[in-house]
Subunit: 267 residues, 2 copies
């Protein structure tokens, strides 16, 4: 295969360029194409789709390996994709993959996740994009099963693409590869975080708040959600839609909600 | 009306507690209920739905005014809503409103916007939530028309609520109130940002990148989008869905996409 025929794969994450998870994802990706990594210098967990505009960002060429170029950016995951498109790549990549995140991005974590932020940015550029996460927060998480189970998803998306404004959010349980039952195509679980802070007092006697809390599944009985799939030993694959319009309610609102009546009433 | 009967309205933004836009929104809100402001100490534009977890956050009681309590948080807009729910409010508010943003949050800006981040967080708590923006970035923007046109929307949502996982993203053109033609119920315009950076060289000779660029409307002919509405003198009201599942593609994927075939092929 010549260089020109190989797919160009842009890799990012939110745990930073030195995370074990991104190295695992690069191992998979370099078997399938030419890889360019553009990842944050520092951990950017929970940065969602944040972009840096109040200060400039720096781009650092880290190293070249066979089939893999590594770059680091002093910004967010979304910044990484933007800088990659603007400055690093000489053509539109065939795929954006982000991760492998150390920790779950299932359910509403999809909204807070910097891993998904990078994949959303790829999607806005019209590039098929996937976010990958393993349900193990630890820095030394074992990505063996993740590599095996994620590779077919990357191959499929390289072959078939994805619909407009749609990315995949893929999570894998933290269990040995042979225990995994298969792939589950799921929807986003409705849920929220509860009791979210720990209040502490600093040495000067002033209080401060650490984010903590636990996830509350609002539909524990549902069997078509990513939470169900993960709890039952499946790789959860969720198609995420970046067009946020609630079309059903838009139609209802058009018929029933007349704001100008209120405006007239007032005057 | 007694205190108990009055709606409890939580107000936040992403331009920070001292912005002119949040003062304008409070002016409207305090006519309609008891107001608690919990807003970022500093500007948080472009912070999307980011949350602060690597460092703690501080909460500062700024001042009390008639019918309005003001608090500031050393974090993001989403942090503000979380801290408000955890520590500031003694009951679930009836409404979360965010803004008025200095500058547009139409089209895909809805994804990057910290103003919308606060409204998304309110939505995840099951509270009807609205993000408001004026198409004028300047610190001294004139919010006169915005106040007049946004009040009926707040009243309607207080009276009727919003569907589960759905918020409103409301933008108003920067034109005099009497020039505004009415309300338009719209969908999110598909688009992206182009030529996004300005590359500069620092005094040490090293390069850095400032975010810049311009918005490119991918469907300039459509007349049911927020971009169209704003360009034609309407207040654009978009119902935003926080359940990101692409259900249509999920169904297709369930039928057509078998990742395990790839897995079997490999082994």
């Amino acid at each position: 295969m010549t260089e020109i025929q190989r797919p160009l794969i842009l890799v990012s994450n939110d745990d930073g360029i030195n995370a074990k998870g991104i190295a695992a994802l690069v191992e998979v990706a370099k078997q399938l194409g030419r890889v360019v990594v553009v990842a944050p210098e520092q951990g950017q967990s929970g940065m969602s789709h944040a972009i840096t505009s109040a200060i400039p960002v720096r781009l650092r060429h880290v190293r070249e390996e066979e089939n893999v170029s590594w770059y680091a950016v002093s910004g967010t995951p979304a910044d990484c994709i933007k800088i990659a498109m603007y400055e690093v790549l000489n053509r539109k990549p065939d795929l954006v993959i982000s991760g492998i995140n150390h920790g779950s991005n299932s359910s509403v974590a999809v909204i807070y996740s910097g891993t998904i932020g990078a994949a959303v940015e790829g999607t806005l550029y019209g590039i098929p994009s996937i976010g990958f996460s393993l349900l193990d927060h630890s820095a030394n998480a074992d990505f063996t099963a993740a590599k095996r189970w994620f590779a077919p998803i990357i191959k499929k998306v390289l072959a078939k693409g994805l619909p407009h404004f749609t990315l995949l959010n893929v999570n894998i349980p933290n269990i040995p590869s042979e225990k995994i039952k298969g792939y589950a195509h799921c929807r986003v679980t409705h849920g929220k975080w509860s009791e979210e802070y720990e209040k502490r007092t600093d040495p000067q006697g002033k209080s401060y708040y650490w984010l903590t809390g636990f996830f509350q599944n609002d539909e524990p009985g549902a069997t078509d959600t990513d939470e169900w799939a993960l709890a039952n030993g499946y790789v959860a694959v969720v198609p995420v839609y970046v067009d946020w319009t609630n079309h059903a309610f838009l139609n209802q609102m058009k018929q029933e909600w007349r704001f100008d009546e209120e405006l007239a009433k007032k005057e």
